[in-house]
Symmetry: C2
Subunit: 456 residues, 2 copies
């Protein structure tokens, strides 16, 4: 939020706190729904939130309720009298109404659905049947479709009538008698064409469309790739079911990115509601984190096992233990860097089949160079600090080997996972650093065992 906007919003909050309805309403009329939603979320009491909502016309209220957090939106809707709630719901686009009602229990859902007009109820109910993270779950049924036998003038006339209700009128979809998608034309092309031209003569026959059960991430990728404003959604009979618009695609991208980042860190995969601190939420969050914690714990115990076989050496030269956190910490760091760069490269499509091995070689080389430089530095520090030159040699060589394997594994593991058809993001920080801890300690203990006579 810009400074300027903050000042404006402070002014509005003044009116709201004073309950100056006239000035507040005047002020709200100048704001976009997304801004009103921000103000609504910032208000401290439910009473003030309700009062603000009452100042809005139904259409704006519908837009605002879609912009706020869905929990708050449902709460505010539930507090309204039935008539007002119905009016606001009727003003929502079908996909937004379905998104909101989708968060409710079946019983409450039915209650709200029954408030809607019969036609609208049917549309919203149908949208509710698709899984939320598929093309069907994010599409809207408010598109514009015409027959190929129309002229452009007729098509524009239809657009004029439908425009207020359609989600976008900039793409017009052409269907046959059985509502199968046969073409597409943009409003831009309709406007340029002469009024008597037939749609079928200027429409595009090859239409990029997505099946209703396609994963939302894939839908987002297609819309991004072709720079579309919307993409049609079809069933397996080519019947046009709805469209996914670019604004919903942006929401999907934000959502999927959060998921990817969390997966890379081995953190809860589902987007959490960060305000909810209830006990149940915490338990859910624990359940999501637990798998990686157990992997790490198992790895830690294996590391302990390796060290226990190496206890004679530690007993003889206790300083060997001092460098364990340094070696595991550095290995984890370098490995995480390499795996993150690799996983992201796969996700953005920069790393493809044919250059995969180049990446592993590059990371190996990077690891070797880091290892050579830092191995010498750490080796010198170790031998000077403990006054044992051979200890420096062992620590330095272990660092070098550790950096090389850490960087190589960081690139190799995600690429191998992808080749095996496993999501490379599973090669996330906890997994990689645990694996690297184990190999790093194996290298260190082996080196120390071989060179122990020189250490004493």
């Amino acid at each position: 939020m810009t400074e300027e906007k903050k000042i404006l919003l402070t002014e509005l909050e003044g009116y709201i706190l004073e309950k100056d309805a006239e000035k507040a309403a005047e002020f709200l009329a100048q704001l976009q729904a997304a801004d009103i939603a921000e103000v609504l979320e910032e208000l401290v009491s439910e009473e003030l939130q309700q009062w603000l909502l009452s100042l809005l016309d139904d259409e704006t209220a519908a837009l605002v309720l879609n912009e706020v957090d869905s929990e708050l939106g449902l709460k505010l809707l539930g507090q309204l009298n039935q008539q007002k709630a119905t009016e606001i719901l009727e003003e929502m686009s079908f996909d937004n109404a379905a998104d909101l009602l989708g968060e409710l229990s079946d019983h409450e859902q039915t209650h709200y659905l029954n408030l809607l007009e019969k036609e609208d109820r049917k549309e919203v109910r149908e949208l509710l049947t698709y899984p939320a993270d598929t093309a069907g779950g994010i599409m809207t049924t408010e598109y514009v479709s015409i027959r190929e036998t129309f002229t452009t003038a007729q098509a524009i006339e239809i657009l004029r009538k439908i425009a207020p209700d359609a989600e976008t009128i900039y793409y017009v979809f052409v269907v046959n008698q059985r509502n199968q998608l046969v073409g597409v034309i943009s409003l831009r092309e309709l406007i340029i064409a002469s009024p008597t031209t037939l749609i079928k003569d200027i429409m595009h026959h090859k239409v990029v469309s997505v099946p209703v059960d396609m994963d939302q991430e894939e839908v987002a990728r297609i819309v991004s790739k072709y720079d579309f404003l919307a993409v049609p959604v079809i069933d397996h009979h080519q019947t046009l079911l709805g469209i996914v618009t670019v604004d919903d695609v942006i929401d999907v991208i934000h959502e999927e990115v959060t998921e990817d980042i969390f997966r890379l860190a081995g953190a809860p995969g589902e987007e959490e509601d960060d305000e909810d601190t209830s006990f149940w939420k915490i338990v859910t969050s624990l359940k999501a984190r637990l798998p990686w914690l157990l992997v790490t714990m198992l790895g830690g115990l294996i590391s302990g096992q390796i060290l226990s076989r190496f206890s004679d050496q530690i007993n003889a030269v206790v300083a060997l233990a001092f460098f364990i956190p340094l070696l595991t910490g550095m290995g984890g760091n370098v490995g995480t860097q390499s795996s993150t760069v690799t996983v992201r490269g796969i996700a953005t499509g920069q790393i493809k089949g044919k250059n995969a091995w180049k990446i592993v070689c590059r990371e190996a080389l990077v690891g070797l160079m880091i290892g050579a430089v830092l191995g010498i530095v750490v080796g010198i520090i170790a031998s000077w600090w403990q006054n044992k030159p051979m200890l420096g040699v062992v620590v330095g060589l272990a660092m070098m080997g550790n950096m090389l394997t850490a960087a190589t594994m960081g690139a190799f593991v995600p690429l191998t996972f992808r080749k095996m058809g496993i999501d490379p993001a599973v090669a996330s920080a906890p997994f990689i650093s645990t694996a690297i801890d184990i190999t790093g300690l194996l290298i260190y203990s082996t080196l120390a065992t071989v060179l122990i006579v020189y250490l004493l």
Copy 2:
């Protein structure tokens, strides 16, 4: 890419390898520019790439060269004869031409600019003056603007003429005599309005716009928030300079996400060209990674220092050393999970000022619960394995304290950074896990020192 598409592309590659121009051209006519770009990138030889490009008309070639990797695009453009290169450049939108030429040296840039017509050259040159990651750097000057005194019929007539060259005609910007932005109207509204209505009577006076020097990430946030198809870019005199369209915003989101993910992992901040394995690239990559490596190294040495003060205890009970990797590994894991959830919550706006402390408390509670459960498990394993009950108590208690501080720090550090005006993503994995290693070892060594008499 879908299976179906792969089969189609294999067919095309067949025609290309056989150099069957007719069939290949026929096939290409059915593809979108983004698909042709994919094929072009997959082709093995430059000769085949040039041949494919020669089959395309100038307009399609321009679109395709914008979709491929910019390095490849410039290489292919450079190999064309001057006339063809000029024709293709002329077909590009100004912002795409500027993006492409922006990658060249000044000398080469001038060469290509001189090929363009005078008017176009001026526009492209101007776009080249804005930093690439600002509103000016991603905007295009091919927008539609009209005067407020026009009627809707006149406005639509203008759109008809401009449509083929404009980046979007769905938003029409209204300017005064000095080209200052005074309003906006959508094509949707123009179509609904009666033909004689004056623009000034139906346009929106409050226009959300962005200053030319605004960071591209902020521009993307505004377009996402308001669900715009484009946003106008102005200078500090309110003069309309260009527009940023939603397709460019999606590219920005992808770019910024990559940056955020890399920063979280302490990996190179700049998006790397993953195919380039040249020595210089590796050195650049090393330079980007080095700061976190040094932080980790310093942390590792401090950890070693802590352990060295604790060497009598390790000498007495060598098994104490076996649990070091377990404790540091688990602490790093939990801390990274907490910091990732927190940093992402800040980025998406879910974590705001007023609920920040709730998050720290929640994470502390999560850490305490994880610590309690895993502390008991690890404690039992340790006492059974080493047959020393008190060792189990020390390891278990250390685990509990470590999990509590790790989760709390993971949430606390990024929130504090934000409050201090530092990018919270700096509280990235390497920093957090190094800090947690140190505190974890302090807890462990203190506990072991206090309870040493019972350990012997």
